[in-house]
């Protein structure tokens, strides 16, 4: 496990990334995870048809695997930013700090993977904005928000899984979904959530509308939704 006092490098900011030459359609990172990109290339690209919000990076309803992956990317960018700032805040300690550092790395890796898969359809940190207010004033408030974000991620991935047309993408999304579920249980444990770490025999899916409503309710999003 990572030493909580010395957070490791953040995936996505290391040498595993290759930046393609600039040019139309190649502005994004290209990962060595080329299998994902290849599988997704067959999906084709669709230009953003925004939902009235000029800076929105996701559009509802989700009408394709690409739309679903973009929605996932938005959520992962939100989570990654939250944990980068949470770990850097210095208010976390012990097991919570170690967990937050691991989760930060996982979410950043998910961002990388989704950007690599989306290719030219991807967006990045510059296209979204988050303000977490006083969340990092204490470990307790960090834990409460972490639980909310992870549980929203779990519901979002589960809700989307049956709609994913590509079986390969479905499996990959599933392999991210279970990581979010692991995070959620751990934060529930540290947050001493009512019902314990695993409150039910079945995880509940969320519709994209429910996910957007939950994210909007946090008040954290300043740009991108």
């Amino acid at each position: 496990m990572s030493d909580p006092m010395t957070p490791g490098p953040i995936p996505g900011q290391n040498a595993s990334l290759i930046t393609l030459p600039s040019g139309p359609g190649s502005r994004r990172h290209f990962l060595k995870l080329s299998g994902a990109a290849a599988a997704l290339a067959v999906l084709g690209c669709s230009d953003d048809d925004n939902n009235g919000n000029s800076d929105a990076v996701v559009t509802l309803p989700l009408q394709s695997d690409t739309d679903i992956l973009k929605f996932a990317l938005f959520l992962e960018l939100l989570e990654a930013d939250f944990y980068i700032k949470g770990v850097a805040s210095g208010v976390l300690s012990g097991g919570v700090a170690a967990l937050a550092t691991s989760v930060r790395n996982h979410e950043s890796t998910h961002v990388d993977a989704l950007q690599g898969a989306l290719g030219a359809d991807a967006f990045d940190e510059a296209d979204v904005g988050f303000d977490f207010g006083n969340t990092f004033a204490s470990q307790a408030s960090f834990l409460a928000v972490a639980q909310t974000l992870e549980e929203t991620g779990v519901g979002a991935y589960l809700g989307a899984l049956p709609s994913i047309q590509s079986k390969a993408i479905r499996t990959t999304a599933g392999s991210i979904f279970t990581i979010e579920a692991r995070h959620a249980a751990a934060f529930r444990a540290y947050n001493n959530a009512s019902g314990g770490p695993v409150p039910a025999a079945f995880v509940a899916p969320m519709t994209p509308d429910q996910v957007v409503a939950a994210v909007q309710a946090t008040g954290f999003v300043t740009r991108g939704l």
Partner: protein, 260 residues
């Protein structure tokens, strides 16, 4: 590297050709166990390329939805039996009986020495024995749900026998065995995520998968481990033969299985 991962999976596929389901399950355990031991090292750090390679279904024939549900039921039988032998107290979920979940468990201990002395890591305060009973009831609920979905096609619990060795001798043995079962369950469900045809079944299987992942995470927390395998950002889908190799040591007899 992914080429090594492919070679191992191909090896498994070739090894099972021409042998009937039951014999290949029982005879393959020892050989495949070696492949499973290597897989985490091979897959570590290779992320999505390997996941996609395994998720395409190229490594084994696609199973029918019924076969996949029976595969899931087999693993849920195993888990439910394991936890019931660790804690036979309290009421079981409605519709379940001790005999139905564990018909050959007459000598099961029903408790684990030292488990009540295990504490959750600070600042968590949940009761570990209470948590174990909750997990037991989740697994029993999964059994009932899968039996309900399969109706007359469900494999019968009475046709399986399970043996968990020294798992109930100490809290440490118990927690480590629980971890293996839960992490294996996650890889098993993930391995079939691309093979399920019915989106309704897919949603239900996904909602069980998420709970297995949550169980695994909590056992990892109790053992002082990272909550994900090798602290990785992705869980790994596994083939039926890989999963049965990991679970095989606990299965002393089984009916003819329609997989791998």
């Amino acid at each position: 590297m992914s080429t090594d991962g492919t070679r191992i999976i191909t090896f498994d596929a070739e090894a099972v050709q021409g042998i009937d389901a039951r014999r290949r399950f029982l005879s393959q355990v020892a050989m495949a166990a070696g492949a499973v031991a290597l897989a985490p090292m091979i897959l570590k750090g290779h992320g999505i390329t390997d996941l996609l390679a395994q998720g395409t279904g190229e490594t084994e024939p696609n199973l029918s939805d019924t076969d996949i549900l029976n595969y899931a039921l087999t693993l849920e039988y195993l888990e439910a039996t394991f936890y019931l032998r660790a804690d036979s107290g309290g009421a079981l979920p409605t519709g379940a009986t001790v005999e139905g979940i564990d018909p050959d468990g007459g000598a099961a201990p029903g408790s684990v020495p030292g488990l009540s002395g295990v504490t959750a890591p600070s600042p968590a305060t949940f009761s570990v024995p209470d948590y174990v009973r909750v997990v037991r009831d989740h697994e029993i609920t999964h059994v009932l749900a899968l039996q309900g979905a399969l109706t007359t096609n469900a494999l019968a619990r009475a046709d399986f026998s399970f043996d968990f060795g020294t798992a109930f001798d100490s809290a440490d043995n118990f927690l480590n065995t629980a971890l293996v079962l839960e992490d294996t369950g996650v890889t098993a469900y993930l391995g079939q995520a691309g093979n399920l045809d019915d989106t309704g079944i897919l949603g239900t299987a996904g909602s069980i998968l998420g709970v297995e992942a949550q169980h695994a995470s909590t056992f990892r927390l109790l053992l002082g481990l990272p909550v994900t395998v090798e602290d990785g950002a992705f869980d790994t889908p596994r083939t039926t033969s890989e999963v049965l190799a990991a679970a095989g040591p606990f299965i002393t007899s089984s009916p003819a299985l329609p997989f791998p």
